[in-house]
């Protein structure tokens, strides 16, 4: 009897997959891989949510999106209402729905996930944001009267955009200074079109500009203006969300041969400069046939999948640990594998071989085995003596992480940095050693995720609000 009652209350619906482009076809184009939910699929998925009284999922969200509320609005068919609900806490829902690691955040805490698959929060977020954008009328919230306070934001990546959106809604005047010629930071130069269409980033930035956020391009702060000069110009507070922005190389012989890129360069050429559309766009990019990508993170997956789309016959990911330690999201590694990217685990390059023109033609590698756990808790890869072998390659992308770019931090007197050059900031508020200067995102934490940077932007916006209103 009770069993039957339960059944009536909640029909069992499996987690709805998101339709996507066929792997064979998509590995040759730059169009987005998943198509997104249809309204029917979205409502079906949303109805799976148990609407917990004490929702765990929210705790897993760095910006505290009211997940059950927006999911319920989708279930009820109020898609615009769902988008508005999302935007109360998240200025970039269409971005987060695509690039957040939901499986280790909100979805990992979903009660349904204990016995079954969790609610597809990310796919629903993406659906609501896309639905609203497709309607063409994104309504602006009521803004308070201007406070007369001015905030300078350095960097228009996820941290800076989130913070700018929050502060402009408090009535402050916000100016973002961006070093490149387009807004979005890593969302634009780093994440490829097939994973995050640039039109979506543009729409989200456009929304912030309509709210009153001003963006100045081509401003390399530290060069054209210093942070001290920004204060002299009348800014009351400053947020540094400049990203990590310094490529790490391995310093092995031959690394400066032509055809060897940092992931930053490779992806910037393709994404920001649109080299994949060469010669329609002027920036060139190597189109190797045998491409190796070094590293196992999301950036390595993005690089490998870009190389396939640029016409490579073979793309190998060379990673020094095993599949278990792969730092990329499971979904990204899965997509890469589906498209034909091959993995060489427990392998590390030790030198590159070049031809007379200075182009890379080979890569000597060594096999690794896993030893004792290191500082990160992962088992340390140890080279196996005598296991060297050579791979034929004509292009390499080094995607082993980034360091702290000193261009801005070195021009701010008395700004405390840690031994790696990252800014020392309070994790709760982003407060730095300099009064009125806050920082967040990769320049504080080192390479992390879009949503963690957004969370840092959110924390700092609250702290700056308190600082500006004299409560800090």
């Amino acid at each position: 009897m009770t069993e039957q009652k339960k059944k009536e209350k909640k029909e069992k619906i499996p987690r709805q997959p998101m339709p996507e482009q066929d792997p064979k076809k998509r590995s040759k184009n730059f169009d987005e891989v998943p198509y997104g939910y249809t309204p029917e699929l979205a409502q079906k998925e949303a109805r799976r949510c148990l609407q917990c009284k004490k929702p765990k999922c929210i705790e897993g969200c760095p910006v505290g999106v009211k997940i059950p509320e927006f999911v319920n609005l989708i279930a009820e068919g109020d898609f615009i209402g769902a988008a508005k609900k999302l935007k109360e806490d998240n200025s970039l829902p269409a971005v987060c729905g695509r690039v957040c690691p939901q499986e280790s955040q909100c979805e990992s805490l979903c009660v349904l996930g204990k016995k079954d698959d969790p609610v597809a929060v990310g796919r629903l977020e993406r659906f609501a944001a896309d639905y609203e954008r497709a309607q063409g009328v994104v309504e602006l919230p009521q803004l308070p009267s201007p406070t007369g306070k001015k905030v300078a934001v350095v960097g228009s990546g996820p941290a800076g955009l989130t913070l700018a959106g929050d502060l402009v809604k408090f009535g402050h005047q916000v100016t973002i200074f961006e070093a490149l010629h387009k807004p979005g930071g890593v969302l634009v130069y780093g994440i490829p079109e097939f994973r995050l269409p640039k039109a979506i980033v543009e729409a989200e930035v456009d929304y912030l500009q309509r709210l009153g956020v001003e963006i100045k391009y081509n401003y390399v702060i530290g060069k054209i203006l210093t942070v001290d000069e920004l204060f002299e110009m009348g800014y009351d507070a400053c947020f540094l969300g400049v990203g990590a922005g310094l490529p790490v190389f391995m310093n092995i012989p031959g690394e400066n041969l032509c055809g060897i890129y940092s992931a930053n360069e490779y992806l910037t050429r393709s994404n920001l400069m649109k080299a994949y559309l060469f010669p329609e766009y002027d920036t060139p990019i190597a189109r190797g046939k045998n491409v190796v990508v070094i590293g196992g993170g999301n950036v390595a997956m993005d690089s490998a999948r870009t190389a396939l789309r640029l016409g490579a016959d073979n793309v190998h990911i060379v990673y020094r640990r095993s599949k278990t330690e792969l730092p990329a999201r499971a979904e990204e590694a899965h997509h890469a594998e589906e498209e034909g990217v091959q993995f060489k685990f427990l392998t590390a390059p030790i030198r590159y071989i070049g031809n007379e023109d200075g182009w890379v033609v080979g890569m000597e590698c060594i096999q690794m085995e896993l030893g004792e756990p290191d500082d990160s808790g992962r088992r340390r890869p140890v080279p196996i003596e005598g296991s060297n072998f050579t791979l034929d390659v004509d292009q390499v992308v080094v995607a082993i992480g980034t360091g702290a770019n000193p261009i801005i931090t070195s021009t701010i007197p008395n700004l405390e940095l840690n031994k790696w050059g990252y800014i020392v900031a309070d994790p709760e508020t982003g407060k730095t050693s300099r009064e009125g200067v806050y920082a967040g995102g990769d320049i504080v934490t080192g390479s992390a995720t879009v949503i963690l940077a957004m969370g840092a932007g959110r924390n700092s916006s609250q702290a700056i609000q308190q600082y500006l209103t004299g409560k800090g």
Partner: protein, 278 residues
């Protein structure tokens, strides 16, 4: 958008000079620094070292030779047109100090880059001897400018049509033989020229600075496209340079890296020439 206030053709119409409105950059720029420039929406970002600035007027000067698509496109811009993006000032400024006698050697459009550095060195109180050269008389640029900021000026042409017959390095070698008081040589021009300037000065043990124009994308240290090997270590031309101790630079590697996109550059240029009926 950055408006072109003046346009001037030089060196038999192979070199172009723009005076551009860029007040903030003009205020901050120092000798030796460069700007990144993207002409239009589909354009490439290229580095160009400033040939001069006028902080009072809020202008910067760039001088470039037409070598490919981007510079050819730039040359079609007229007075009153605007360049979409200019980013700067970038790179480290030249370290200017009073040393005594210094020699400034410039070749081709490198003379434009050399000019503000030469002026800075003279203003700091150095005795400046300049050597500038070109393939032939008509291609020599900025003779008057260089004359104004040098205590002595020597000119060479490869074909002997003007000044001394020979290369700048010939004149440099004679000078180094003559004078034992040379404290610094600054050599700026095509990479092979800079390589030979360094080869010339090495036996004399005279410190030699060169300004490298590696291929760049963002030019803020983010991408590493401009890697150069200096003293056995990898440096980024954009943030560690553009000036380096020439005796430490691996010029052969630089020459190869500069040629990395020759095929694409040719394709792009041909595409452009067809479109513009050239």
């Amino acid at each position: 958008m950055f408006k072109i206030l003046e346009k001037r053709e030089m060196a038999d119409n192979t070199v172009c000079h723009f005076k551009i409105e860029a007040p903030l950059i003009a205020k901050k720029a120092q000798p030796g620094q460069f700007v990144m420039l993207r002409p239009n929406e589909t354009g490439e970002r290229i580095p160009l070292t400033m040939a001069g600035t006028d902080p009072a007027q809020g202008t910067i000067d760039i001088i470039f030779q037409v070598v490919g698509k981007t510079t050819a496109l730039l040359r079609t811009f007229q007075k009153g047109d605007a360049i979409l993006d200019i980013i700067g000032p970038l790179g480290r400024p030249t370290h200017l100090e009073k040393l005594g006698t210094v020699i400034c050697v410039g070749g081709g459009t490198g003379i434009a880059v050399l000019y503000p550095i030469t002026r800075g060195l003279q203003e700091t109180g150095n005795h400046v001897i300049s050597i500038i050269g070109a393939r032939t008389k008509d291609l020599l640029i900025m003779e008057d400018y260089m004359k104004n900021v040098s205590d002595e000026l020597l000119i060479t042409t490869d074909d002997g049509s003007y000044g001394r017959h020979g290369f700048v390095t010939d004149a440099l070698k004679d000078l180094l033989d003559e004078r034992k008081d040379v404290k610094l040589v600054v050599g700026i021009g095509p990479v092979p020229m800079m390589k030979f300037v360094c080869k010339t000065t090495q036996p004399y043990g005279v410190k030699t600075l060169v300004s490298l124009n590696a291929i760049m994308v963002d030019a803020t240290g983010m991408c590493g496209a401009c890697r150069v090997t200096v003293g056995g270590k990898t440096q980024f031309c954009c943030v560690d340079g553009p000036e380096f101790d020439g005796h430490q630079v691996d010029f052969d590697e630089l020459i190869k890296r500069q040629a990395a996109y020759l095929k694409e550059e040719r394709q792009s240029y041909e595409h452009f020439q067809k479109e513009h009926g050239q």
